[in-house]
Symmetry: C2
Subunit: 110 residues, 2 copies
């Protein structure tokens, strides 16, 4: 996703969070959207993204809908009911991670 390996472990959370906000998205669109939102700072590589989408689908957290646009296939992903619960859990874990990291790196907050 970057040279920076802090993002390791965060991809599922990013994907589910985006889908929660946007309803449905296809893989390529996710890569563009993340880059846009982070002002080009974070680039989700396809080699990381597609296996993650497949894994989330296999776990029953995402469902797929095929679409043909301009003679090209798109696979739209959206969150299932089961996925909604897991998304909430992952977002809570992310918030907890962020606050823990903030006290760890900022002595004033300790």
């Amino acid at each position: 996703m970057q040279k920076n390996n802090l993002y390791k472990g965060s991809l599922s959370t990013i994907v589910l969070s985006l889908l929660k906000e946007q309803g449905k998205m296809y893989g390529y669109q996710i890569t563009r959207e993340v880059e846009k939102i982070t002002n080009g700072q974070l680039k989700v590589t396809e080699g990381a993204l597609y296996p993650t989408l497949h894994k989330l689908e296999a776990k029953g957290l995402l469902s797929v809908e095929m679409a043909k646009v301009n003679n090209r296939v798109r696979k739209y992903y959206f969150i299932t009911e089961k996925g909604k619960k897991e998304t909430a859990n992952l977002l809570n874990e992310m918030k907890s991670f962020i606050s823990n990291m903030e006290v760890l790196i900022n002595p004033k907050l300790a």
Copy 2:
């Protein structure tokens, strides 16, 4: 470090940040301190910590000082000059990661 795999990739940053604040620390002390600072939410496992300390030392970012306290050996680690620069870089990357994650998961900030 936890069931949560968001922490993957953050251990070097945590260690260097603590050493920057506290001057010198030994491994076991780092595990206690992290647990204390995060109110027991984050437990750094020794299987993760010691190899990381050795790696940071091998990279020249940390130096070691042996001490014998109560007939037990302690290895105090402290940041080298080279390590100070890398610590600053890693802390900047962490801050950037946090702000990127915040806009990604919080639609209001986008």
